[in-house]
Symmetry: C2
Subunit: 229 residues, 2 copies
């Protein structure tokens, strides 16, 4: 009955559950109730139970969930019981920071190919991985069995890079460029967009007192504010 219609929102919560369970495991804990786990993560116990129910019966009534067992289950559902090779495109400030980030390694990912267009970047290396010319993508990505790409190029080049990745066989993209990329149905994209995140937070702040600065800034845009009504 659990078949195949797990909402994406549930899938996006699984890594958080996994990470939390692994931390608990590291603390020597053996089991946890949906109540406890929810409190740690900031979601309701009911949601925890509903989420887990999508992919099986992991709990024991009266007892809760076995932490190691549940974590392993989630890890398997997410197919994280292996290491995924990832291709990074872009080796500017951002690309380099991503290439040097050590957090992926311990979480089932390895940046095993880096591509750039800038001649200055090509030939440099990060973590022992040499930066290749972007034109090598179509050859290297299939060869290495890479199915995940990270876009870390300027917004204006993001769509083009997305297409090159897709043409190379990539099926999942993590997009750091501040641009919406359009890909075929069978390709999944997640956006990393700190600027948008900040820009949606200010909505909730009072603009009132303490202007941080005397500059009345409409940013790059010289346009004038003007609304009707």
């Amino acid at each position: 009955m659990s078949a195949n219609e797990i909402p994406d929102i549930v899938i996006r919560r699984l890594p958080i559950y996994l990470r939390t369970l692994r931390r608990m495991q590291g603390l020597g804990l053996e089991s946890v109730s949906s109540e406890d786990l929810g409190a740690h993560i900031g979601v309701t116990a009911a949601q925890i139970r509903r989420d887990f129910s999508y992919f099986g019966r992991f709990g024991k009534q009266g007892k809760g969930y076995d932490i190691a067992n549940l974590a392993d289950g989630i890890q398997r559902v997410l197919k994280l019981d292996r290491t995924w090779n990832v291709a990074l495109v872009g080796f500017g400030q951002l690309g380099r920071a991503i290439a040097h980030y050590r957090g992926f390694e311990s979480n089932s990912f390895r940046i095993s190919a880096i591509f750039a267009r800038n001649r200055e970047h090509i030939g440099q290396e990060a973590n022992g991985v040499a930066v290749m010319d972007a034109s090598a993508m179509q050859e290297v990505i299939p060869e290495m069995g890479i199915r995940i790409g990270i876009i870390a190029v300027p917004a204006d080049n993001a769509q083009e890079v997305a297409e090159q990745l897709v043409d190379s066989g990539v099926l999942a993209i993590l997009n750091y460029a501040p641009a919406i990329i359009h890909v075929p149905e069978h390709v999944r994209v997640r956006e990393i967009d700190p600027t948008s995140a900040l820009q949606s937070l200010t909505f909730y702040l009072e603009s009132g007192d303490q202007p941080p600065d005397s500059v009345f800034d409409t940013s790059l845009l010289p346009s004038m504010a003007q609304t009707r009504d």
Copy 2:
């Protein structure tokens, strides 16, 4: 009637609309229909119209939306017609990358204070901003009228830093640490979590052929997979 109940999900889409409209404006376009705008962004025309209807009547029947006017409207709704000072906490790899990122400036934010605990980091500087001791937060943040904080410290320190920020008067937090932070109701948090994003993408990939590597990796965790049924 538009009063005050705009869903957060709508607020989170506004920066994307804004960015897209500004790009169109830069291209010299003057007006756009919900149909067109939706196609560019990848949402339905109905959603665009519904979203905008929450904060006013911005369109003209038969014509569409005036790009400059609509962008200005969104900018005002999001309170982005000013520059917000932001405090960055953490000056390791990640913190430094954020400090040097030039994308915030042109989008209404300025990292105007940087804090770290590591003695090596204190006194360094980025973009002309000196790194201060974290203990100075409670004094400096109110003084500078800062209400937005960015957390870029290891997961284990994230909660502590969040509390220091909140105690200093911060009301909005952008959290790059891979940890859920708990804050009072009146404080808003957005997470930047590339690892979780990648980990939720693999769910949709076939694990089948082409194992990228011979390592059968259960990562850091030595635990054995074992499920019931």
